[in-house]
Symmetry: D2
């Protein structure tokens, strides 16, 4: 059994980690920690876990709890994991960080977009960007995983095949993304009240959202060039899910067959489903599951390709991919604990 | 492996059966049938099952498919199962009927409330009312299960302990219930369009809803008296879930301790969670799971007890309980395939 | 022109007052006050009012602003109005209090249910309970209006005809009510976040909700007897609206005709619509309007009547009724500024 | 009084026309017609209009009803108006067509995108495209108005200033739009059921949506060049509203000041609100009103401008703009009957 600890367990990401880990047959949750709810029962924070996880939340003095676990998930706000990690921690346990602290290789870029100093830049190089389908081999060896952001996971997986194959003009890339409200976290803010979000939609972080450089960096690796793009997220009145609609000019002479061939890179991937021609990804078809549904449409009039991806922001965009990373790191079947079919309703 | 067939597989109940059966490790789905979508791939009806269940729906000529399966689920409209069942069917397979056809023992009562003639009343007596927590022993021996209705399951489980213990005046019983929209089925009706249901709430079937006699019959067995009650269902703008709020006068002199003791009848039940004092059942805490959360509140001013239950109408109220019945009938662990934690988000 | 001031203008009740008052042709909004947003533009709090009400919120030093207005609305939390009112205020302006401070005639009852000391009990006797359809004549003379609570407005109007006519057994009265989330206010609480409320339903304040004694008092006046009842509110995932489903035993021998006749008391009321037989009140049919839709259903099996009412909690349940009261107090057409048709979508 | 008739009154567009016209003080609704609900009371179709509009729907034999009215609104599916219009009709009444029949000047383009033959192309030239803010003068003289589509209204108004001023490269224009479900109409289709739309989002009509040529034509007039663009609509789980997010490259050397100046073209427009810098349009801020909220954000990294617009699809995108057109045609104050403040909740 893999012994697991979760730091920051009472946010929505932590809550979803618990949901999947409770039915993962190779895992035992040894402790869950929470700054806000220390010493309170986990099931008093989320009554859904009554009789399923009634243990009390421990504090965030990580050192006291390291010996009990093999792996620690950080489902914490930006900057927390970077402060808590050190050589001792990494010597004792594997770390999967669901925050952005180790995702961006260039510290200056991180500090500029996130507006904070990085507390432990010395571990950035070692950290592996945990986009499983693309970095699987590196993940196997890693002791520190930077679990990708929700928008980046969906965006990169949707665009990667064409970026990698060099079929699109990267300078024309525009990503218009839509997310459910759980992505905004569980903080008690007026802006996230039911009546403020329901029956509405808005863009946010226009031209300045922090996931932009993460997407640019990864698509830069794929396309072997520097990438600058527009990324605009929108808040949608639903609990879960992300939909990405991305646009790019096809390079001169690119054929439908080449595009089709490029997307075959996912043929052996269980969690990435490239839909049949004419089928459009919908959030409901992946909800509460670790699947990403992807497809594309060529516009012969404008010579653009529209790339689309749908995903659950809390699963493949957070907890599910974190567990997928754990499975890979510990040599388990990558799908273990993640086999739930989507809850279309 | 238990070989399973599903008649009426493309309604919401059938869809949810598939979701759970796909991860049930003792089950193989041999065929799914559909009148509307015969010969179409199941995943073309519900794209969430793409690459998970791509087999084509067979027609409803049940006799042709009996030899391939050990158990048949009927997730069909009222009257269909009663027409398709006969001795030959019951000799060959076990049957779990999610419709109301065999729930009510008195044929006249059934025909009056459902407004249709019963096509096979000869099997009513044999059929076991599949409320697992109450009829477990009979279910073990059954070959024909009348899977309880969604409202009845939640209502009966909430009220049963006090009815059984004789602590409430059954003549004062009022059940006010609220359900998500999936309970209305997948028929293409204006009344169930998004814009007609969203941002609204209404009662329906006031004083005439068909689940009334089913609840009355079962609470009659529990209380050993004839029961007449008011049951009012309401339509709520959410996909899943049922909340029951029931009211009754406490009998003279009944104490808090007696009530508490009565609810201890569920102490060994995994799927029925009697909440701690002062905790209120919420639909979100049971969503997409087979749990029923129950609690009660005594009002010393009016000498009434308010009994509350929350449940997922598609799971414990339909597909989940059907699988729980199957597990019991086949001697499996009752929880097999049903261990998903609630998806609070 | 009636010059209006609004204390506590930035809550949802205040926001809705502004929406109606902006198109009321006899009204000029002279100032809006806010503790939280003092000196900020009203349209920076609610961007919907950009270019419609850009004035800055004043502080809550009421005395400084009294001379500018003829009437002051208090859309404030419990206890605030009671503290701010005095003879000087009442000599200068008419006051319409949307909070509960002056609704309950018995101070001890108020203090017990609200858990606070009343700051100005000397004005309780003078205050008129502003349920327009019932107290219209007293409202005409009033200088201090206790604007009824949302649940009480809908509950009382639904039950009043039968209580008044003595057709139901008041001891058997049970009110099961359902409200949209705006009723919970605009406070930044985790419990009211989108993801905590959406796709769920729960009861709250079971047996202890503060609107209980308000309903009991008013129905006591109508039925000329002391009334003790059960009132259970539920939180529904929608922005606006209240639905009340109430149950009572009919007195021996009461006929359908007597019930019908009782509800004819509303025949001349514009804002109370008694629906045709068999029509069921729905929240969507009154949304964003000042209407209350009412109907009833007799159950010959149980000898009970089910009384139903649908209403917009922010309009007839708060701002709309407050303006209706103002219209009556100032001798205007009662409907002025309130003629909007319901926004069914 | 302007005497009004509405053909196709029972769809969502017709329903919203009725809502506004009922409080328009210069209008009398003489008849409403409906193919589906002929001879049924309008308030039996939409119970929200009980006691407000109880007249029976007439059939669609337009000729019989022409003499009773001064203007006819067509809120009908594509092709219906084109079939019903002739010289006699236009001689007798003014016509405002909310469908697409007369929006596109080139018949071949219309027939290609709409897949139907145009029944009365002889009137296309005369028809005025009723985008009030841009074609006000022509509208004054018109007897046949092609009321703009919902997506086109929001898209064109958001982009028009920069297209007109020649500040963006029209070849790079991408419009990503999001609409509430009422845009899909009131047809009884499985795809529009509550449970199919709720908690999800999807694109539709990708590269092929019929509003594309309408937007291209109008932006062509503004920019004085042929325009080909990508337009992708998405379905959002909310009743009302459209959000447009559009992207284009700024032409070399264009300054912030030039962009700001371009948007000042709306300075005198009541219904178009260009927001203050950094404010982002949200659907809730315009809901149930005739406002369009617009803003833009320059991205210095990519040299693109992101243009955003929020609008109510049923009001400024349909019924409200139709009434605005009527007001202009009849020489009334353009705002008459349209002064409702947005219902932010």
């Amino acid at each position: 059994m893999i012994r697991v600890g979760i730091v920051g367990s009472t946010g929505y990401g932590g809550c979803e980690l618990v949901r999947f880990l409770l039915t993962h047959k190779e895992v035992e949750i040894k402790w869950v920690s929470s700054r806000t709810y220390t010493d309170q029962e986990y099931s008093s924070v989320y009554a859904s876990y009554f009789k399923l996880l009634d243990q009390k939340c421990v504090d965030e003095n990580l050192e006291n709890y390291l010996d009990d676990v093999d792996v620690v998930f950080f489902a914490t706000p930006q900057g927390v994991c970077a402060k808590m990690i050190n050589q001792n921690v990494l010597n004792k346990v594997k770390v999967i960080d669901l925050s952005a602290d180790y995702r961006i290789k260039d510290v200056a870029t991180y500090e500029r977009w996130y507006g904070m100093e990085h507390a432990s830049p010395e571990f950035i190089k070692e950290a592996v960007y945990g986009l499983c389908e693309i970095n699987r081999n590196k993940i196997k060896q890693a002791r520190l995983i930077a679990n990708p952001g929700c928008y980046p996971t969906c965006s990169i997986l949707s665009i990667y095949p064409l970026a990698k194959a060099g079929l699109i003009d990267m300078d024309t890339l525009i990503i218009d993304a839509k997310s459910g409200v759980s992505g905004a976290g569980r903080g008690a803010k007026v802006a996230n009240l039911y009546c403020e979000v329901n029956e509405s939609i808005k863009a946010y972080g226009v031209t300045t959202h922090r996931h932009t450089p993460e997407i640019e960096e990864q698509l830069g690796y794929a396309s072997k060039q520097e990438v600058l793009l527009n990324f605009t997220p929108h808040l949608i009145p639903m609990n879960r899910g992300i939909l990405v609609t991305a646009y790019a000019k096809l390079k001169e002479g690119v054929t439908k067959e080449e595009i089709e061939a490029a997307y075959q890179c996912y043929d052996d991937e269980y969690f990435v489903r490239v839909l049949d021609s004419e089928k459009i990804p919908e959030v409901r078809n992946v909800k509460a599951s670790n699947f990403v549904d992807i497809n594309y449409k060529i516009d012969p009039r404008t010579k653009r390709v529209v790339m689309m991806g749908a995903m659950d922001n809390l699963v493949k965009g957070a907890a599910g991919q974190a567990i997928q990373n754990m499975n890979i790191m510990f040599g388990l079947d990558e799908k273990e604990g993640l086999l739930l079919a989507p809850a279309v309703l």
